[in-house]
């Protein structure tokens, strides 16, 4: 049975000005985890990057028409895995259909999911009755 050690539930307005705040929270969380000293800063950077990309996506594509909509982020540490879930209320998208970037094409967009996949161990996107959730997991220990 999984032991939940940390469980943070964060709700912020669906505005990009809050990216810094959620990034800072997950960076600080990474620094509190029991990981090797030389890997801690990299872990903090990777979690900040994945969460920043996920929340920015949720703000841009996932928010409902209501400008006062909010984004919910859940961080939970269960056994050796940190789970990061980002909820949105938009139409959703097909994660499997997002291609890797074409490195020879200098397109200004289309690298966010690639970054998430690069720094996290698993990424899933699913639709639920209460909205959509992007779930990213990272092995900590």
């Amino acid at each position: 049975m999984c032991e939940t050690i940390v469980n943070l539930d964060i709700v912020v307005p669906s505005q990009t000005r809050y990216l810094r705040l959620v990034g800072a929270i997950v960076q600080q969380l990474a620094k509190e985890l029991e990981v090797q000293e030389d890997k801690r800063d990299t872990l903090a950077f990777h979690l900040d990057l994945a969460l920043t990309e996920a929340v920015a996506n949720a703000i841009q594509y996932g928010a409902a028409a209501n400008a006062r909509d909010s984004i919910r982020v859940c961080l939970s540490l269960e056994d050796a895995y940190l789970s990061v879930r980002v909820f949105d209320h938009g139409r959703g998208f097909d994660l499997a259909a997002v291609p890797p970037p074409d490195f020879d094409n200098l397109c200004e967009r289309g690298r966010g999911i690639f970054f998430i996949r690069s720094v996290m161990d698993s990424v899933q996107y699913r639709k639920t009755d209460s909205g959509n959730v992007l779930e990213m997991r990272k092995k900590i220990a």
């Binding site: 990009t16 841009q60 966010g112 970054f115």
Partner: protein, 110 residues
């Protein structure tokens, strides 16, 4: 976005005064780069020494600057990338696209 702009060695130097470039300020960075080119910059150097974090939208803003400069045959270089910022360019192979210098001083003397 706080950016210090100055002309040095006949080049327009834009020094980013933020520790973070993400979707909140990348649009402004894109506009500032375009404005520098439209204002007649002969060559642009973006000093990223203070930037500790950049996301995909930040890379997109810099790519926009690079492409707009190339269209005008204007030089466009990046300087002072912190290791984690540089790692983002390497992950996306963009370090092969941009002229990247370890420091502003080296970019200006190139």
């Amino acid at each position: 976005m706080r950016v210090a702009e100055e002309i040095r060695e006949d080049r327009t130097v834009l020094s980013i005064q933020e520790d973070r470039i993400d979707a909140h300020n990348s649009g402004e960075l894109k506009s500032l780069l375009l404005k520098a080119l439209e204002d007649g910059a002969k060559s642009v150097v973006v000093d990223l020494a203070r930037v500790q974090f950049i996301d995909s939208s930040g890379l997109g803003a810099l790519l926009s600057g690079y492409k707009n400069a190339s269209l005008r045959s204007i030089g466009f270089a990046l300087a002072g990338l912190q290791p984690r910022v540089r790692s983002m360019f390497e992950l996306t192979r963009l370090h092969r696209v941009f002229d990247i210098y370890p420091s502003l001083q080296l970019a200006l003397s190139a």
